[in-house]
């Protein structure tokens, strides 16, 4: 923040003294930024505006001549259609479950990895690996190699202990999708929380230990408050990525068995049903949901960011 104020103060007298060259100089400062900025506006903002416009039209791509303005009709239809409403609910359920479980598992693993033990680097590498499998490949791995009721690894291992041989995806479709996503996202949470743990004030912890604080007291009163913002950041970034998840739903269940989330529904309603207006309205709803999460996310990121800037 201080950098901004000094920069503007320095710029003001120069502008009054030599207006043309000062303006030139400020454009020279801005110039390197412009290509990236313009590119982003054209490629990400314009299509969204178009989506917004299309969402007010009744438009099926198979009957282009019947296209007409319908106002909020598409939104009404999206919000009253039982399938679409169900997909809103699925999105919420999927995101909340995956974020919460992977956050808790990630916290446990981060605490374990924060201690010194033999082979810590190897364990860290083993744990990161699931995050580095191409998402479609990971989903295929779970669908065919782990979940398959006849020769999947899960039922193979259950066979040894004489357990039942369930058809995982048919019996618990949403849970099956969630488990595969938790497997991929726990490493992400662990990495963020581990970075948080390692940025703790170690002198403070040592001091507390000398004063006779137990491990639990240190965790409860020092570590957890310090980790709060890292937990928030992990939860919010995780939500932003998982709300948009398409790969796992598409691969594991093809949106069937009640697992279609909003991104899949949007994909299906224009790619297969050619309902451009409806798809756009659903897309706008996803954006509104994301904006709610994003507002909080931006606040957390900016508080971490300002701390960094003021420390520098």
């Amino acid at each position: 923040m201080t950098a901004t104020t000094t920069a503007s103060m320095a710029a003001t007298p120069a502008r009054t003294a030599r207006p043309p060259s000062a303006r030139l100089r400020s454009w020279a400062t801005r110039a390197p930024l412009l290509p990236a900025l313009i590119f982003m506006i054209v490629v990400t903002q314009l299509p969204f505006v178009a989506t917004l416009v299309i969402s007010f039209f009744d438009w099926n791509a198979l009957y282009p001549k019947a296209r007409h303005f319908t106002g909020l009709d598409n939104y009404h239809q999206v919000l009253t259609d039982p399938d679409l409403r169900h997909s809103v609910w699925t999105t919420v359920l999927l995101t909340a479950a995956v974020v919460l479980v992977s956050l808790i598992l990630g916290l446990g693993l981060a605490l374990l990895l924060d201690r010194r033990f033999r082979g810590r680097g190897i364990v860290r590498t083993l744990l990161i690996a699931p995050f580095l499998v191409v998402p479609v490949a990971a989903a295929l791995l779970w669908k065919h190699v782990l979940y398959n009721p006849e020769y999947g690894l899960l039922n193979g291992l259950l066979h040894y202990v004489g357990g039942p041989q369930p058809d995982w995806i048919s019996n618990t479709p949403l849970l099956a999708v969630e488990a595969s996503l938790v497997w991929q996202w726990t490493p992400f949470m662990m990495l963020i929380l581990l970075a948080g743990l390692q940025s703790r004030d170690h002198q403070q912890i040592e001091a507390a230990r000398v004063d006779g604080a137990s491990d639990w007291q240190i965790f409860r009163h020092l570590t957890l408050p310090h980790l709060r913002r890292y937990l928030e950041l992990g939860a919010l970034l995780g939500s932003i990525y998982i709300v948009q998840n398409f790969d796992a739903v598409f691969t594991l269940t093809s949106g069937g068995l009640g697992t279609a989330n909003l991104p899949y529904t949007v994909y299906q309603s224009f790619y297969q049903a050619h309902e451009n207006g409806l798809a756009s309205a659903a897309g706008v709803l996803v954006v509104i949901g994301s904006i709610v999460i994003a507002t909080f996310a931006l606040r957390v990121v900016s508080s971490l960011f300002r701390e960094e800037v003021s420390r520098a």
């Binding site: 982003m40 033990f117 033999r118 791995l141 963020i192």
Partner: protein, 281 residues
């Protein structure tokens, strides 16, 4: 602390280390099993109980690469390589000057600009998918790898700008000013002073952009067909497979994930910073 307390603490420490190892191996098990299955014959891959010690063979890989007929994965692999490498290059070309204007020679309201970039990352892909599809259809750019290059550039640019501005901000301003007082021109300053300090960060940024582009499915699935199909789209061909194909699908998944695993492990230390958009160091 008494000797007994120290011993208890040490023993519990060893127990927790063991627990970490166990969980680490559990998380890695599916990948290890995928690797093992990819080297089994199709008959051995589909048994219950699983055949851990079955004979090893390269048949799964031969099948995947289409040696005995069937679709060759090479066009898809080449498409993915082109889309990922070229888009990463575009990202670097656009993000480096932008990050310079946001960290070294700062524009006014530079934090606002940074947060604009971040907010575009939070706009879901589905929000712009349909107009992009309609545009591509009308412009005759469907099934064209260069459309993916543009989209992947926009997908990764915010991450790159955030990461790079945080790396460039680490270059001390005093060093840059000293070089300028000594009469060095801007390109010299960039090449001799800024680049050496920021280079590891730039490399990590590039690797992370490469990973995201390589992994992307939704755009590729909607906007490409036969010609510009990428590796993840090739993989979706296995979704409804029936019969004996486990070794082949494991080989395919492993081969297609290898570049990501390699890039991810290479960028391990900077991975968090990239994924948290520079908020966590």
């Amino acid at each position: 602390m008494s000797a007994v307390a120290v011993r208890i603490r040490r023993r519990r420490g060893a127990g927790l280390g063991l627990l970490a190892w166990l969980i680490g191996l559990l998380f890695f098990l599916p990948i290890a099993w995928m690797a093992l299955t990819s080297f089994h014959s199709e008959a051995d891959a589909a048994t219950n109980p699983p055949s851990f010690g079955a004979a090893l063979t390269l048949d799964g890989y031969r099948d995947f690469f289409g040696v005995g007929g069937g679709a060759s994965p090479w066009p898809a692999l080449i498409n993915s390589t082109v889309a990922s490498l070229v888009s990463t290059l575009c990202v670097l070309l656009l993000a480096l000057p932008a990050a310079y204007a946001l960290s070294v020679r700062r524009v006014k309201k530079w934090t606002d600009v940074l947060f604009f970039f971040l907010s575009t990352k939070m706009l879901p892909v589905v929000a712009g998918l349909l107009p992009i599809y309609l545009f591509a259809k009308n412009a005759g750019m469907l099934d064209n790898i260069w459309l993916l290059v543009i989209l992947y550039t926009s997908m990764n640019l915010p991450i790159a700008v955030w990461m790079m501005q945080s790396f460039l901000a680490e270059v001390p301003v005093a060093v840059i000013e000293a070089a300028q007082i000594d009469g060095a021109r801007l390109p010299t300053v960039l090449a001799r002073v800024v680049a050496p300090i920021a280079l590891p960060g730039i490399a990590a940024t590039a690797l992370i952009c490469f990973i995201f582009s390589w992994n992307e499915l939704l755009f590729a699935r909607v906007l490409t067909g036969v010609v510009a199909e990428t590796a993840p789209v090739f993989l979706t061909g296995f979704i409804t497979s029936q019969g004996l194909f486990l070794a082949k699908v494991c080989a395919a998944s492993l081969v297609i994930s290898l570049p990501v695993l390699a890039a991810g492990f290479a960028a391990q230390d900077k991975l968090v910073q990239g994924l948290s958009l520079g908020a966590v160091k």
